[in-house]
Symmetry: C2
Subunit: 806 residues, 2 copies
Amino acid sequence: MAIQPLLKSLQRRSLHHSLGERSPLPNSSHKICFHLKQHCTSYLIFFCVGTNMVNAGNMNGSGNLMDFLDEPFPDVGTYEDFHTIDWLREKSRDTDRHRKITNKSKESIWEFIKSLLDAWSGWVVMLLIGLLAGTLAGVIDLAVDWMTDLKEGVCLSAFWYSHEQCCWTSNEATFEDRDKCPQWQKWSELLVNKSEGASAYILNYFLYILWALLFAFLAVSLVRVFAPYACGSGIPEIKTILSGFIIRGYLGKWTLLIKTVTLVLVVSSGLSLGKEGPLVHVACCCGNFFSSLFSKYSKNEGKRREVLSAAAAAGVSVAFGAPIGGVLFSLEEVSYYFPLKTLWRSFFAALVAAFTLRSINPFGNSRLVLFYVEYHTPWYMAELFPFILLGVFGGLWGTLFIRCNIAWCRRRKTTRLGKYPVLEVIAVTAITAIIAYPNPYTRRSTSELISELFNDCGLCDYINDPNMTRPVDDIPDRPAGIGVYMAMWQLALALVFKIIITIFTFGMKIPSGLFIPSMAVGAIAGRIVGIGVEQLAYHHHDWIIFRNWCRPGADCVTPGLYAMVGAAACLGGVTRMTVSLVVIMFELTGGLEYIVPLMAAAVTSKWVADAFGKEGIYEAHIHLNGYPFLDVKDEFTHRTLATDVMRPRRGEAPLSVLTQDSMTVEDVETLIKETDYNGFPVVVSKDSERLIGFAQRRELILAIKNARQRQDGVVSNSVIYFTEEPPEVPANSPHPLKLRRILNLSPFTVTDHTPMETVVDIFRKLGLRQCLVTRSGRLLGIITKKDVLRHMAQMANQDPESIMFN
Amino acid sequence: MAIQPLLKSLQRRSLHHSLGERSPLPNSSHKICFHLKQHCTSYLIFFCVGTNMVNAGNMNGSGNLMDFLDEPFPDVGTYEDFHTIDWLREKSRDTDRHRKITNKSKESIWEFIKSLLDAWSGWVVMLLIGLLAGTLAGVIDLAVDWMTDLKEGVCLSAFWYSHEQCCWTSNEATFEDRDKCPQWQKWSELLVNKSEGASAYILNYFLYILWALLFAFLAVSLVRVFAPYACGSGIPEIKTILSGFIIRGYLGKWTLLIKTVTLVLVVSSGLSLGKEGPLVHVACCCGNFFSSLFSKYSKNEGKRREVLSAAAAAGVSVAFGAPIGGVLFSLEEVSYYFPLKTLWRSFFAALVAAFTLRSINPFGNSRLVLFYVEYHTPWYMAELFPFILLGVFGGLWGTLFIRCNIAWCRRRKTTRLGKYPVLEVIAVTAITAIIAYPNPYTRRSTSELISELFNDCGLCDYINDPNMTRPVDDIPDRPAGIGVYMAMWQLALALVFKIIITIFTFGMKIPSGLFIPSMAVGAIAGRIVGIGVEQLAYHHHDWIIFRNWCRPGADCVTPGLYAMVGAAACLGGVTRMTVSLVVIMFELTGGLEYIVPLMAAAVTSKWVADAFGKEGIYEAHIHLNGYPFLDVKDEFTHRTLATDVMRPRRGEAPLSVLTQDSMTVEDVETLIKETDYNGFPVVVSKDSERLIGFAQRRELILAIKNARQRQDGVVSNSVIYFTEEPPEVPANSPHPLKLRRILNLSPFTVTDHTPMETVVDIFRKLGLRQCLVTRSGRLLGIITKKDVLRHMAQMANQDPESIMFN
């Protein structure tokens, strides 16, 4: 997670380049990219090249005084790295582009076809994202399957077969002993020709650990060397990016490649992590890649984010086999700006991805996930009590996990621990492998474990009635056999182990998702509770709570359902998802039967967890990293006013402003050099302080540089003017420089008496970067997004300095 | 639909009352209510009583000069009928209320419990809405079932049994002749003891028409006398109300009662209309009723709309048995302000409603709708072509329907036709009944027809292979028998009839939904195409397109699927729903198998229909009625500026403003009397025109009235001041009146150069009523929501005068 030190140094460096040494920005941005190594080059292509567009949406000079700067110049309208975009401006630019295309389309057939292509490009991008995300998910599933089994043995007939594939292709194996076929050999069988006994066990154990360490080492090395952004689940950063922040390279091609490869490695290594969260990151990388192919998206940061929202939906769709759940996840959890058009397109992308994955059919069962369930036994009202208990457990687990994980990650950031990421991964992998191997429930992959816990006959060592002829679906409750008691112990140990190790695993410098470990914790707890209730009901039919619905010989308790409810509760406690969680679980079961238990558990879990702290794990990591994320879910309820938040505060130096027609080029350059503000309000004069507009720092620098290079007569004491008409200057003074083109004539203003809750609302809904504060028409100050976030942190008794970016 | 004349006269009258005769507003609003008859009384209770709240969110006077008006006075913060609410203000008020409760909750245990109750009230309201909406839907289903059958005959054993219930209870009936049991007698059997022959047919025909006319007459009379707002589908008005408009009584108790009763009557009368749209209205009435029980919702128009959004979801949930589809419908189609909290609660309400309906089980099959399907035969890529054709048909039907229906409704509004609503209903019912009876496909209820068309064996008179032993699900394609050819003809006639009669039915003065007739049109067309393709495939196995997937004896074409795809296409063409449509159809089939055909048809249909006009039927009716609805889906792409839209225009009289401390009570009263603006900007002085704040007309009137009545020394030439400190007045002048309390110190401003697309965005996203326009700090003009809408209409070459309300 902690890409922050890198970010900080980069931010400082970029400031240094663009200000201190007055190097022109294209170079500076090149230099930034250089520091981010190769994976940044992809960005250079579509950030630094495609910029000959005018930011005309906000410019409304009637243009009767054409001079050089009325022509567009390069790099206007792009953003620096680690800055926040201005949504209104992006939208305005897109409308402008659209208007231009519509007007042109009437000119010729060719232009008309081009306009049609432009209109269709959104759907094409979605199709491509769906295809690629589905394919990658399928490939990852297949590879994980093979490599997980590789830790235990190898297929003699074809080494690239997983255990299951190996035995499926062998005709000898019946369904019963599907996992015992001669082609599949454990390492001990292959190496020392022994399959039983202590020495074989130890050899297998040793090789299991060795493979795990090899995979983990490879993964962490690849991440460190090629793509530092490939670590973590990626969802906190994607949330921040979708809210308008720019992190170049975070969704680049290198990240895509390395994350895909290392994801396979780390999941196969048996670490307590899942591939679901990282799949969202992978899908967003796909989205970013394809949006770079169409100028409509590559040149507009706002439009690009629409594509990314849809890509996130496709990612969840393939991660859980839940297209509708994916769209709702994108809507509820990750997206910031989600117009209805995006909803429709997200749905399309999610469906294409799901169908692509289904046609790859990685699990050989026409299902998109391993833990799909298909039972339809009813549940009873009295069971709501254990379901709600599971909800409480989920909430408590969520709180515990978030607190401990954040504390550990903070420790990693601030102590020497963070300096040895490879060692950390190796150590955690070794501990995981050593503890996991002896327990059959932790040895297998976590999704297999979840699948077994969900399925009704996952733990089937009951004392069987020999006369039973019913189908498997309808087995009555039976007394537990010794195997079940044994399994209970093993599950309890697995639960404790998973809880502890996951806290240390999530946040290491490898791709790591949180969905699967959380679900595993919940599924284990749920299954234990379920078996408990089942045995209770079996042995005490006559208790008043069981009498009504549980006759002897009936199948009244479904432990698999408890596992599912527990999984939903734990996932809800950690992520605080609500609707999308229930819909994903609904799509996993394919029926409305279990929606009430699932909802009860999800609601309880969220309430319990919220009682200890409102933040989900993703928001907590966003805060930890100091990203400028203005959460739509946080309600701001304090009674402060804009005047309390704006800068300059009382006693501070007055606001740095430009005047409309009295400052020289040198004055402006000095101002730019001496301050590090991202923009400057332009006023009529320093005395009247009546606001005219707002000029971006970046565009000022570019414009002055361009003018100095290409326009004659512009020298240090040329007067800069932002008005339509040039100011009256003495006869012998140099030619004045008109910069009205870069002036935003419609800056956003609020009065100093505006309640902060309204200001926060405006920032959120309109996606502003800054807002000017006036009183009776006079400019008083400025509020930036960072100021808003810092104020919110302060009001919530947090450290305002934790918000680092603008 | 056409409640407009009433509205217009009301608006005029309310203006008259509040201005011309200077009657104080509470009285005037009482008079408005009086004109709306009884169903308005419910509103009086929670609009006119619960108003002793202060609009403190926007008021930030530090209050060091306490005088009378610093106390709250009644009626501040409410809105007049047919006005738009100010979302920011409502939100601000709610935050304030919340803050107050939170602060109080620390004082005592009792206050803490009260705060908990307040926090929980949202969930309680949702639960109640779900229960009532589900129950009403169940009752309506049962009643419709019975009354539809009553047109044909009666059950002798119990007259309140429908045909099916009658024969289910009779033990003699086998499954085969379920609809021929002795207890059920056709009218001819009962009256003249004849079941066959021409005279019996004519008697039955006659009684069928008579019953239909009776039902329709009752319905239209009830609507006219008791609840004029109960007519139509209600969705256009609900969309407008959710966007912030106030139509008192539209969601009142009388509307709820009458709409429920008349809905049963009109559906039973056999008219070409459905109950699905009106069910949404009914659910919203439930929502409004329950929200009136909790002050959190009854006193805040913004919060109330959150409840209504969720209620709409519950309505669709029971209408289609699709809880997730309902939530997405509410999100995509009807809601305006849809925070995530509402998403979660809507989901809860939709689920409760669905489970309530399921426990009532109106259709005796544990399903929520009659036309649930359960086949899982695969489809083939080549079939996409007919599916897309059906999409094109759906789009064309949508366009045709919207154009013709709007033309007819406009005719009804503008000509004498509109004066005889009862006669119109009677005539249409008579025509419908006369034409419908002879055709078996139109005689039965439309949902039964759809169910039969969807089901794979709905038209089973094929030439059967006598040796066939396969299950019904897997019947191979067979040559069509004479019955199928006959059915094709009847279906074709039914199609033409439905298309024509629906155009005239939708919009009459009775409750009328559009979903079911649209789906019926599509299902008929789809079934015809499906049977065509099936026969083609049967007779031409060897054609290249069939060769790959359709061997002789295989079940390769499912005509029921075509019917479903056609239904989705036609529904999409009329309503332009997308995601919610696909999800509703997905929930009807319960599997992902058919999502691709459904999506292909829905997308095609939307594209085709959009090519002829962007408006769906609901938006078209909103425009027809001139409601102030700012659609989030319309993109504003013109290049105009705020200065082009604001008033006063060039050459108009200057803006009416108040000054902060120089106008007397009489000046203000004159200004109020002479203008009809909803509010006035307050400036420093007429010369400087620097903006201080904004005062609402309604609150000005109330404040002055209150002050005159209850504060000594306030006379006509008292100076009104909005500043903190009283102005300096000559010694002998009367006591000045401080009105800072009602001044909004944070009015929304934009500069005159702001592009209109940004202004439209701001109005949409922040839900403003008005926005002030400034240039370098000077007040230039004002833009109201009406101005924005009129400008948008003008730019779209529509009549700007069609926007009537503010």
